[in-house]
């Protein structure tokens, strides 16, 4: 189920919240367990069994690791059991086509591509579940004895499909004991609606512009249109992803959970290293704590540090998608981070803020071309177009796009930085009584406009009567 759909907003959410608020505290996790199961099963009716398998496996391994508290080999055994099956499932269901196609290419075989379908959210919930067994092993968290409580954690519907990647340690305490204050509820609603607006009004509309431009043969793209297009995508992916995260965090708050922040105005970063501390923060943190540090981090000399970074970034890229452009995308950032570690970081710190921001922003934009590359020759063609291979300005429809999409691009650009939100925060503090009225009015208006766009998306008139 998609958050930005009428079914989720007006069927699943009111019913689930209603039941959740009404049941006594002792049953709330049960509600989370079943609502998460239902939410996942809505999108993946058969694969819900796979999800339950992962939940059961890691619950079992967690208990076994704790049970054999003084027998290290057995603890390692159950950790490896959990990790190998979790990662194994991920490799099979997400990367099966990738492996088969590449094996065929390298060894000249023609194995049939199994084309096993990809269960929605598997990359997110698998990482969440693995964080538990690793942290139990590391003795960072206490074992969860209740199967329902553990299941509720893995299957929490706000973030099972698109994150943030909430580690067990983040919510260990809240799973056992949480309170929903009126203030939390109001704040959660605000964050949720902001996220909905980001997704429905900004991301979806800006994305329409990118879809149009992406469809043009790069050989026919003029530089202005190419830049407009990739800037549109830059905004789209930010609002799409951060919007979804906001909705998840907002809903969590409405139910008494404080999920970690996932985005912190990433496009204001002054270096690539900083960018990855502000973009998809929970993923970066996961790879840092569970892979980078496990490999030794930066404590084994310069050479090993560089190797560790390369491995982590290759995996980060690969996590995003089962194809080579994503691996290259990860390595692309890995390269910049390594350079910044070696010497570039010190330079960037000395540059004026605007310059280092622009530098980083450009690196990120070119990264997005790679991220969006269906095939690598398209990426090459698109970058050439950006540098004027297809002519410079006014050749294509850039002025027309600017007219139709200008407003939403401007709003998107303004809200991507801290200045505008900070200004509103200042207003709120300075005029509390006006804000107390203006805020809900704006929020309700935002909600209603989002609903209008969602209803419109389902409106599909036919010119000729369809039998």
């Amino acid at each position: 189920m998609v958050f930005s759909s009428l079914t989720f907003l007006f069927l699943f959410l009111p019913i689930t919240l209603g039941v959740y608020y009404l049941v006594p505290r002792s049953l709330k996790n049960l509600v989370l367990f079943f609502s998460g199961l239902l939410f996942f099963a809505w999108g993946e009716p058969i694969f819900v069994l796979l999800l339950l398998f992962t939940v059961t496996l890691d619950y079992f391994c967690g208990r076994m690791i704790a049970h054999f508290d003084d027998k290290k080999p057995l603890r390692i055994l159950f950790l490896l059991l959990s990790l190998s099956l979790d990662i194994g499932i991920l490799l099979v269901f997400k990367y099966n086509s990738f492996f088969v196609q590449n094996i065929n290419a390298i060894f000249g075989l023609s194995l049939t591509d199994p084309q096993i379908p990809l269960p929605l959210g598997i990359s997110f919930y698998t990482f969440q579940s693995m964080s538990y067994t690793i942290d139990v092993f590391r003795r960072n968290v206490k074992t969860q004895k209740s199967y329902i409580d553990y299941g509720a954690y893995v299957m929490l519907f706000p973030q099972i499909v698109a994150g943030p990647i909430v580690r067990y340690s983040d919510v260990e305490r809240e799973l056992a004991e949480r309170r929903i204050t009126r203030s939390d509820l109001a704040e959660g609603i605000g964050i949720f609606l902001a996220g909905l607006g980001k997704k429905v009004l900004l991301a979806n509309n800006i994305g329409a512009l990118w879809s149009e431009i992406k469809a043009i043969d790069p050989a026919n793209l003029d530089a202005l249109t190419a830049w407009l297009g990739i800037l549109a995508f830059t905004l789209q992916i930010y609002y799409d992803f951060s919007g979804y995260s906001d909705m998840a965090i907002g809903m969590g708050k409405m139910m008494g959970f404080a999920f970690p922040k996932n985005f912190d105005y990433p496009y204001e970063s002054r270096s690539v290293s900083e960018f990855w501390r502000r973009w998809h923060m929970t993923l970066g943190g996961w790879f840092r704590d569970y892979v980078y540090i496990s490999l030794g981090g930066n404590r084994k000399g310069k050479g090993r540090t560089i190797l560790n970074l390369a491995i982590v970034w290759m995996l980060t890229g690969f996590w995003h998608g089962a194809s080579w452009n994503f691996v290259l995308w990860g390595l692309y950032f890995g390269l910049w981070i390594i350079l910044e570690r070696l010497f570039l970081g010190k330079w960037l710190a000395k540059w004026p803020k605007a310059l280092s921001c622009l530098w980083t922003f450009l690196i990120v934009i070119f990264g997005w071309v790679l991220f969006e590359a269906v095939d690598l020759s398209w990426a090459g063609g698109f970058v050439s177009a950006m540098f004027g291979a297809g002519g410079y300005a006014w050749a294509g429809n850039a002025p027309y796009y600017a007219l139709n999409y200008g407003f939403v691009l401007l709003v998107g650009a303004l809200l991507a930085g801290q200045k505008v939100p900070d200004f509103f925060r200042f207003l709120r503090a300075k005029y509390p009584r006006v804000s107390a009225v203006a805020l809900p009015v704006c929020q309700t208006l935002l909600f209603l406009i989002c609903i209008a766009f969602l209803v419109d998306a389902t409106y599909n008139p036919f010119l000729y009567f369809r039998f």
């Binding site: 609606l193 139709n404 107390a436 805020l439 209008a452 209803v455």
Partner: protein
């Protein structure tokens, strides 16, 4: 401090209450309201409630069905669509729902696909000419976007379709007559051209159809009647056509008036379908003046085969391959032929010879809107 706490409580409640009000009321009202069966604006039947069984769960038909059901019957559905259009318009967007929002009219956005359908369709026409040993007339009706570029929003890409029509001439000028409406329409003033197309519908008006009719006279060999020999009959209700339906916005754009030109002289009509069933005693189905889609006054609903017989006419049999644009021209043509057979390749799946064997007709006309010829593949599906 107590006052602060009270204010905070009020401020929080001000956020919480409207949110839950919207969240709960909208679905409640949606499920309680009686459900409509058919959407006039969308031209389709609306979804019925899905049934929950293991198999409909497993293959997702239940979930998809429920999503469609909720969306189709959502309370005030069309008003939400209109609200979205208005908010887009307020931000400067001039392309809404696949339609250009011009100062006082809508213009359909042209299809952007590049495909081989045009070449396939043209080959079908030349095949026809060869198989039936005749020289057909092919008339392409230009779309409003290509003819009304003065009215498009600023910077809007205007496709004159010159490349496509040149291809038509290249492939067919040796085997068919090609009356050029692009040239004929371009020769008149912008104001006059604007009258050839509806403001809220993608079809052409009776004025545009009349121009085509007079041009066809030269190519098919009849003398067209002057405008004065017709009575202009208009519908009493405002006509909001297909383009309105795409965005449901009325702001600033006046409704069209559906007008037909009925011959004042003698006619003796019998209109039947492909199986000989009697449909009407006139090519004008005037009951449709009271329907939403008033363009259907011309020949009624689109059907695979329509036969207009006019005993008072002097010509023989005319075979017409058509889409809905020809519906406005057919009443004119039926004044000059005793029998006009209209075949719509979008719906006709039989062999042409079954309806119109070789030698049973005196002239052949292919009359299509530009989108059907350049981008659709129905013409190439005709079986001879």
């Amino acid at each position: 401090m107590e006052k602060d706490a009270k204010n905070k409580k009020a401020a929080d409640l001000a956020v919480i209450l409207p949110f839950f009000l919207v969240l709960v009321l909208l679905p409640l009202i949606t499920f309680c309201l009686p459900k409509a069966d058919f959407s006039e604006d969308e031209n389709r039947t609306l979804a019925t409630a899905p049934t929950l069984r293991f198999d409909t769960w497993k293959d997702r038909t239940f979930m998809d069905g429920l999503e469609t059901y909720m969306a189709d019957h959502f309370v005030l559905r069309t008003r939400w669509v209109e609200a979205k259009g208005i908010s887009q318009k307020l931000t400067g967007d001039r392309e809404i729902g696949g339609v250009y929002l011009c100062k006082d009219r809508f213009i359909q956005v042209q299809s952007k696909t590049v495909d081989e359908n045009l070449e396939r369709n043209l080959m079908t026409v030349s095949d026809f000419a060869e198989i039936f040993s005749c020289r057909p007339v092919l008339m392409v009706v230009p779309d409003a976007a290509s003819m009304l570029s003065e009215y498009l929003p600023p910077f809007a890409p205007a496709a004159t379709h010159k490349e496509e029509y040149d291809l038509v001439k290249k492939h067919l000028s040796s085997v068919a007559d090609l009356p050029d409406l692009y040239a004929a329409f371009s020769a008149v003033s912008a104001e006059e051209r604007a009258d050839y197309y509806y403001k809220t519908d993608h079809h052409w008006t009776v004025d545009g159809a009349y121009q085509a009719y007079t041009m066809l006279g030269n190519h098919l060999g009849f003398t067209p009647y002057a405008a004065g020999e017709f009575e202009h009959i208009s519908g009493q209700n405002p006509f909001y056509g297909t383009l309105y339906s795409k965005c449901l916005m009325k702001s600033g754009i006046n409704a069209d008036q559906m007008t037909i030109m009925e011959y004042k002289g003698e006619t003796d009509y019998s209109v039947t379908d492909g199986e000989g069933k009697n449909l009407s005693d006139s090519p004008f189905f005037k009951e449709n003046f009271d329907q939403k889609d008033q363009y259907l006054v011309n020949l009624g609903l689109n059907r695979n085969v329509t036969v207009i017989e006019n005993a008072a006419a002097e010509g023989g049999t005319l075979l017409v391959f058509k889409d809905s644009y020809a519906n406005a021209v057919a009443p004119f043509l039926s004044l000059h032929y005793q029998k006009v057979i209209l075949i719509d390749p979008r719906y006709y799946r039989g062999e042409v010879q079954e309806i119109a064997p070789a030698g049973s007709f005196d002239a052949v006309l292919f009359l299509f809107g530009s989108d059907s010829l350049y981008h659709q593949n129905q013409i190439s599906k005709l079986i001879f």
